[in-house]
Symmetry: C2
Subunit: 212 residues, 2 copies
């Protein structure tokens, strides 16, 4: 039995708020950072960076993400999603990490993060779609609000239904997305990584005659 270091609930409680947040934010491991694009009813654009997007189901195609408690003065993303029912997810690639990360600053409501960090809002020509995506991103997804769920710590789970997927690259093959040029992940809030493909495994059947 190897030695191991153990942190208990009591140890966690004794940490400073910042140290605890830094540690706990890493526990879920590597995530793809994405930019969440919204607008208000007057067309003021907003862009925020998150890494909590997760798969809920494929039929209907549902993604979930967590937003901070909406009671603060900086709940622009939440307010916009509730009012317009729309949002976009634009994946972050290596060329736009620093601009994307800068979107985590608390910009005033009347400042568009697109302008502040020099990214280009891509707005559909369709009258029905108002939420901006990020032109410089290689994978963009448009979602309609499906539901919002209050979480025990006052954060909000937003569930969106995928309405469209687009990519600047020829990166769909047999309805498959290619992430080869979109190979970035983040651990916690600040540590960025690049991913290299190892291998593809297959669907696993139970077979009681098989051994590993």
């Amino acid at each position: 039995m190897p030695n191991y270091f153990k942190i208990t609930a009591k140890d966690l409680e004794s940490l400073t708020s910042r140290a605890r947040a830094s540690l706990i934010n890493k526990l879920s491991g590597f995530k793809s950072p994405v930019l969440l694009g919204t607008c208000d009813q007057k067309g003021q654009n907003n862009l925020s960076i998150i890494s909590s997007v997760f798969h809920i189901g494929s039929h209907p195609p549902l993604l979930g993400l967590v937003l901070r408690p909406p009671s603060t003065n900086f709940s622009h993303t939440y307010d916009n999603i509730i009012k317009t029912q729309q949002f976009t997810i634009s994946h972050v690639h290596e060329g736009i990490i620093k601009q994307a990360h800068r979107c985590s600053a608390k910009f005033p409501r009347d400042i568009s993060e697109f302008d502040a960090v020099n990214l280009t809002p891509l707005i559909s020509k369709s009258d029905a779609w108002k939420a901006p995506a990020v032109l410089e991103s290689k994978i963009r997804i448009g979602l309609m609000l499906n539901s919002k769920i209050d979480l025990p710590n006052k954060c909000i789970l937003i569930i969106g239904e995928v309405k469209w997927i687009e990519s600047d690259e020829v990166s769909f093959e047999k309805a498959q997305i290619n992430f080869d040029s979109n190979d970035i992940s983040v651990l916690g809030l600040y540590d960025y990584y690049k991913s290299h493909r190892l291998f593809k495994l297959s669907y696993e059947h139970y077979d009681d005659t098989r051994s590993l």
Copy 2:
């Protein structure tokens, strides 16, 4: 404006169930695969692989994860969490990917995936902690059920509160977890990647005099 390929909701509807699931499962990007360890009230161990763990909050320390609808005959993990209120998350490193992936097969209830894939259940000596973790993992987390939330597609969001964190390596420094030897992520259900650190960015303040 570069060319891009667009898939609409109607296109998604026209895909086979398998192609749609494969595509939609990749939309949330890279995730850390983890093993979810549980046991029933008789001490029968269960281990399943998931990649939907996400951060909810750090005080209290809460993680979320999504389980399939519990109405099937293979909802052993869900049944065990509800009955025992405990579960563990063991991170997957490169040395145990294939064993971990094999846990996705639908093993009968009376077969422990630990035995079937040759991983070792690590069970606390404390009477209060019964859920097994994976000895071969380098980062293990023990959680108590905080709440369960029904999702619109009948899947279940399980929220757990972190009770302990342990690591086989000297990988905690100032309460920081080191993922250097735990650098695996998965895209969708089958594609495994290895992560290499790029850089660490810092907390972003809003400063209207700063330009990028």
